[in-house]
Symmetry: C2
Subunit: 271 residues, 2 copies
Amino acid sequence: MKVLLVFAHPEPHSLNTALRDVAVAELEAQGHEVRVTDLYAEGWKAQVDRADFPAWPADQRLAVAAASNAAFAEGTLTSDVAAEIEKLLWADALILQFPLWWYAMPAILKGWVDRVYAYGFAYGVGEHSDERWGDRFGEGTLAGKRAMLVVTAGGWEAHYSPRGVNGPIDDLLFPINHGILYYPGYDVLPPFVAYRVDRFGPADFEATAEDLRGRMRTLFDVAPIPYRAQNGGDYLIPSMQLKPGLERHAATGFALHLDQGSAAAEVKPAA
Amino acid sequence: MKVLLVFAHPEPHSLNTALRDVAVAELEAQGHEVRVTDLYAEGWKAQVDRADFPAWPADQRLAVAAASNAAFAEGTLTSDVAAEIEKLLWADALILQFPLWWYAMPAILKGWVDRVYAYGFAYGVGEHSDERWGDRFGEGTLAGKRAMLVVTAGGWEAHYSPRGVNGPIDDLLFPINHGILYYPGYDVLPPFVAYRVDRFGPADFEATAEDLRGRMRTLFDVAPIPYRAQNGGDYLIPSMQLKPGLERHAATGFALHLDQGSAAAEVKPAA
């Protein structure tokens, strides 16, 4: 199979780089074809601005979604963005690897999402009707492919546990897993998260590397997080609210959007 | 009082810019002193990299937290970052205004956080002991000041409601409100969120502008979101997990970290 790994760390000799190399080596050992987008090494432009839409009239107000829509339709996206879209279409699986900075992805990776996720490609896809609200959340351009986060965090695992002060890691990653990966159609796998990485010694590294190798070996086998498909009947249209009574046990917040009846939901999907 | 508004939108003639001008005008009409950091207009550098730490030895591996710590302690942060830190210390209140892109802030604003939130300034502050775990989540350099988000979203308000497919807006903003603003000490106010902004007509704009003026008039009066102070006795140390039994009604996920006994928690704090 084909795997794209998008990598966001500024230091070529970092723990993150070492883990990336472990992942790539294991994937290749399994016979997969791997491409890496190394955002820092490639000097990725982080911010969305007028330069992203060279065909947009200079005297016209920049409406980002409209400009993105026109540029995608007309093939006038910049070459760096077009190349990433081509890689996403090529890959059977996408891995985003990054250090968790301020409970979110680093700016350069957010800028990859903001720029590469063009209107007509990652959003603004499909029809709106009484039965459908676009192809998103389980449907879309990237449906049938898999995606997974590989994350490092400085804090303790307990601090990211269900009662931890940082908030549960699954909730903190929900805007990415559900909002960025599930949205355009990916089946989203439970994330790989390494904690307390600032205190890693050689034994910690080797144990984490071995866990990561295991996750790479099961990349195409492990059950995805059982998010509910938007157009699958669980949500009201057009309010897009979960219909009453679908949750089996008390859930609030993000946990509502898991299909609790699925086998995968019985096992807590992360950390 | 003194207010800093950090603004992240690429188009000078956008709805966001118009709302920003409404907010600034109302704050000034109330007698406040206002400074604006316009990230796009100022060409803000979004990504953290080695250039942020000019005193860090060129032949040494870049460890971001350590480099940030040294640069803050030794006064060798770059001038753009140092200027923002000075503004944060100057301001009694901070407003972050941005369009919600992919359920998070635009990359350029995330890069403002990643770069300006230096070690020793916004994190790595205070002692760790059996009774304290650093000055954070309710304590820290910026304690005593207020912070608030002003956000625009393309989607419908119902889609961000407690059962909405996007996830509840309060949970989606938790990594920012709690993880970025409450962490270094800010009292965090309920956010101002405008929905369906891509469909705004003049009447929508004027109604939203009037709501925003109201929020600006009460900037120093409205009750903050009642997050639990980390070192206030509600959390175990060092696991930083909420002690059992503190929640009054069933809550999971981010809602656990609200003090449900407070008056402010009775009113749902957003949207």
